[in-house]
């Protein structure tokens, strides 16, 4: 088993090192200097190995540190009562959620596929050796932070030490349950697609974890400790079950070949492509009376209504519900209305980030590639400037309309909220607020589509080949995130937004018309 583990670890390490070198080659301009010979460069391999080791160490400690800090320690400072019981209470219930939501064993990942199906490693040995290693990482990774933050919360040291073992025990027992369920019923668990009861379990324990302490109700320390000890002991017995279980290969054959994956040509890109492909509406009664490019685009939008229209409608409904809920709260808590009014008057930049989050442009562009351009770009006629620009126009109209639906609800809702929370001294703020939200929506619609056309990042195998595209998207996110910190009156920021959006649209459209015929092709 140790040998299998060492081999699988070496494979994972090689994959990480090559990914590191590959990412160097993807750096714009600089990447062109690097040649393929880099993959055989000893010094670089060594550097890659160091990066790999650091990534491994970070994966052991960083996530756990952030988890305990943000999800537990920071939250309990908000609760009344003693921090000791609150710390134990919150971490106890979160652990019960994590046991089901983060099983490791039922997470379909490519390293498992490579090891078991490509490299033909023994499934049981591979699974168990890597699982024990993961459990070891759980214990070693949690121990310093349960001790540190536990002691800061005045939790007895022995409980702090017990916690990592309890977490591992919970995970092991959850896996025992899922394996046994498969053996009895043939029903498989896929961590990435939790079933309804797992979601319900998560919701219930989230409420138990976070809501109860707010009202001073917590799990008594002795009860929590008894459960923790019992589950830890149960976990030890669980290991015997894992050792006895024999159907690992059978399970992974199902997990790694479910409708999200394609065993024959398994790749992460293949998964995402398959996922997008599955979103095509199979109803062939859907028709269009349009002609040419408009016909083509119309059918694309209609056959992807699940992906495009329905999510826009859902977002719109959610925004509507939030606005109705806030209106209700204003009547109960007038101070909340006053605060909201103050916020609305100066926090318009905040909505740049909101509009960025709810805009479907990036997902639409991805669907366009995976389900349409991926195949069509191999046809010469499809790359002719006239065709590219005609289709771009049709697509832009669709994307803008799709995104305007939630934007319209939000814009109207904000105007309404501003009016009922005390209004503004300047009437002009209302139309400015309304139109600036719409302008932001149009801006993001144009932005995502233009980026896609100018930097078309995918190759024929649907792999992302343009680091520039990633950087551009990253910068967009940073810009929007930065906006969260800015406070400017509605009139000033609204006018700036509208003018900027209009100018940006003109400049981008010019760039697309000028350069897209050259840039819009499959990457090599």
């Amino acid at each position: 088993m140790l040998e299998t583990f060492i081999q699988s670890f070496q494979v994972k390490n090689t994959y990480r090192v090559n990914t590191f070198i590959y990412s160097l080659k993807q750096i714009p301009i600089l990447g062109k200097v690097f040649k393929d010979a880099l993959y055989s460069n000893y010094a670089l391999k060594l550097l890659g190995t160091l990066v790999s080791i650091m990534t491994e160490i970070l994966s052991i400690f960083l996530g756990k540190f952030l988890y305990i800090t943000i999800m537990v320690f920071a939250v309990i400072t908000l609760y009344p009562g003693t921090s000791t019981v609150n710390f134990v209470h919150v971490l106890f219930f979160l652990t019960l959620i994590g046991a089901l939501m983060n099983t490791y064993m039922f997470n379909p990942t490519k390293d498992k596929y490579y090891a078991m199906f490509i490299l033909k490693m023994d499934s049981k040995e591979y699974t168990l050796s890597n699982y024990y290693y993961t459990m070891l990482k759980v214990i070693v990774g949690f121990l310093p932070f349960t001790c540190l933050f536990g002691i800061l919360s005045k939790v007895p040291l022995w409980i702090c030490i017990l916690f990592p073992f309890f977490i591992a025990g919970c995970k092991i027992l959850a896996n025992v349950y899922f394996l046994n369920k498969y053996k009895r019923t043939g029903i498989i668990t896929d961590e990435n697609h939790p079933v309804k009861w797992v979601w319900a379990w998560t919701a219930i324990f989230l409420i138990l974890a976070y809501a109860l302490p707010y009202f001073g109700i917590v799990l008594p320390l002795p009860v929590a400790c008894i459960f923790m000890v019992l589950i830890t002991i149960g976990g030890i017995f669980g290991v015997f079950y894992l050792q006895k279980f024999t159907l690992y290969r059978e399970i992974y054959k199902i997990i790694l070949t479910n409708d999200n994956m394609n065993l024959a040509s398994y790749k992460t890109t293949e998964i995402s492509k398959q996922t997008v492909l599955n979103r095509i509406d199979v109803d062939t009664n859907i028709t269009s009376h349009k002609h040419g490019y408009a016909y083509f685009n119309d059918l694309f939008v209609k056959r992807h209504s699940n992906l495009l229209l329905k999510s826009a409608k859902k977002i719109s409904l959610t925004i509507f519900a939030i606005i109705v809920a806030m209106t209700g709260i204003f009547f109960v808590v007038p101070a909340f209305a006053e605060k909201t009014n103050q916020i609305l008057l100066v926090m318009l930049p905040y909505f740049v980030f909101i509009m960025y989050c709810i805009n479907r442009g990036q997902e639409v562009a991805k669907a366009m590639f995976m389900n349409c351009d991926h195949s069509m770009l191999t046809y010469g006629f499809y790359r002719k400037p006239k065709v590219i620009l005609n289709l771009f126009k049709e697509r832009l109209k669709s994307v803008i309309i799709i995104n305007l639906l939630p934007a319209f609800v939000l814009a109207l809702g904000l105007v309404f909220l501003l009016a009922i929370t005390g209004g503004t001294t300047q009437f002009i703020d209302y139309p400015i607020l309304f139109f600036s939200i719409l302008a932001m929506s149009v801006f993001f619609s144009v932005h995502h589509l233009v980026l896609y056309y100018l930097l078309q990042p995918y190759n024929a195998e649907s792999e992302t080949k343009s680091a520039t595209y990633g950087i551009a998207n990253g910068l967009t996110y940073l810009f929007c995130y930065y906006m969260l910190k800015i406070q400017i009156p509605i009139f000033t920021f609204g006018c700036l937004t509208i003018v900027f959006s209009i100018l940006y649209c003109f400049v981008s459209l010019f760039l697309v018309y000028r350069y897209a015929p050259k840039t819009f092709h499959l990457k090599n």
Binding site: Y295, R303, H304, M376, R383, N524
Partner: protein, 235 residues
């Protein structure tokens, strides 16, 4: 009509895949492009189809004493893995294609006539392309390339994965197309190249070399090709 390839060179980093290729392809012929794995057949096609940049080279189409650069609309490219927009039905794909090419089509047929020609069954015509079999997708790809009526048709191992019936149908389609067109057919299968193609061209060590098949039996031709490839590879 002739397609003249002049001084075509393409390298991937330090590896020279195509070395100053000069070759003239003529109308009315199917050229069988043979070469070993990695010899650059697909790269050659990708250069012609402007899918990848290349260091040097020009492609000229000479028709009735008039010459002009090869344009995108002159080329049809049939890939070994058929690419079709999976969200459309076969009929919708054809309708879209006919819509945008209607001003160029000399002979107007109905959509069903095209389907008949390509032996696509009635019950399959209104199915989503994502539910088409590999062979049917291949037929659709070939069909739209035929309708577009390009001067040059590049075929990158299009028959390799087809069943014997579909492969035979496609061979007949290709033979019927060669008049007024230049067809360049890349394959690994020597028998297929010999039975379908009028000319055999070897791509080896970055250069194109035409094999003179006159006065040779099939077996003698095979031996000659193998000898050429073996000789080249042992250089």
């Amino acid at each position: 009509m002739e397609l003249k390839v002049e001084h075509l060179s393409k390298s991937f980093e330090t590896k020279e895949v195509l070395k100053d290729i000069n070759f003239t392809f003529q109308e009315g012929k199917i050229y069988g492009l043979l070469g070993r794995n990695g010899s650059g057949k697909t790269t050659f096609f990708n250069c012609l189809n402007r899918d990848i940049p290349f260091e040097e080279g020009t492609f000229t189409l000479i028709d009735k004493e008039q010459s002009r650069p090869l344009e995108l609309e002159d080329i049809g490219y049939v890939l070994s893995t058929p690419n079709v927009p999976e969200f459309l039905t076969g009929r919708e794909f054809l309708k879209f294609f006919l819509d945008i090419h209607q001003d160029k089509l000399d002979e107007k047929k109905t959509i069903d006539e095209y389907f008949e020609f390509m032996h696509i069954e009635k019950e399959d015509r209104d199915k989503l392309l994502k539910d088409y079999s590999y062979g049917m997708k291949n037929k659709m790809q070939m069909l739209v390339n035929m309708i577009a009526d390009p001067n040059v048709l590049l075929l990158d191992e299009p028959l390799t994965s087809l069943d014997v019936v579909v492969a035979e149908e496609m061979k007949q389609v290709l033979k019927s197309m060669k008049k007024n067109h230049i067809l360049i057919f890349s394959t690994h299968i020597m028998e297929l190249a010999l039975s379908l193609c009028d000319e055999i061209v070897l791509l080896n060590h970055g250069t194109l070399q035409e094999i003179d098949r006159s006065h040779l039996t099939d077996q003698e031709l095979k031996d000659k090709i193998l000898a050429a490839l073996t000789e080249e590879s042992s250089c």
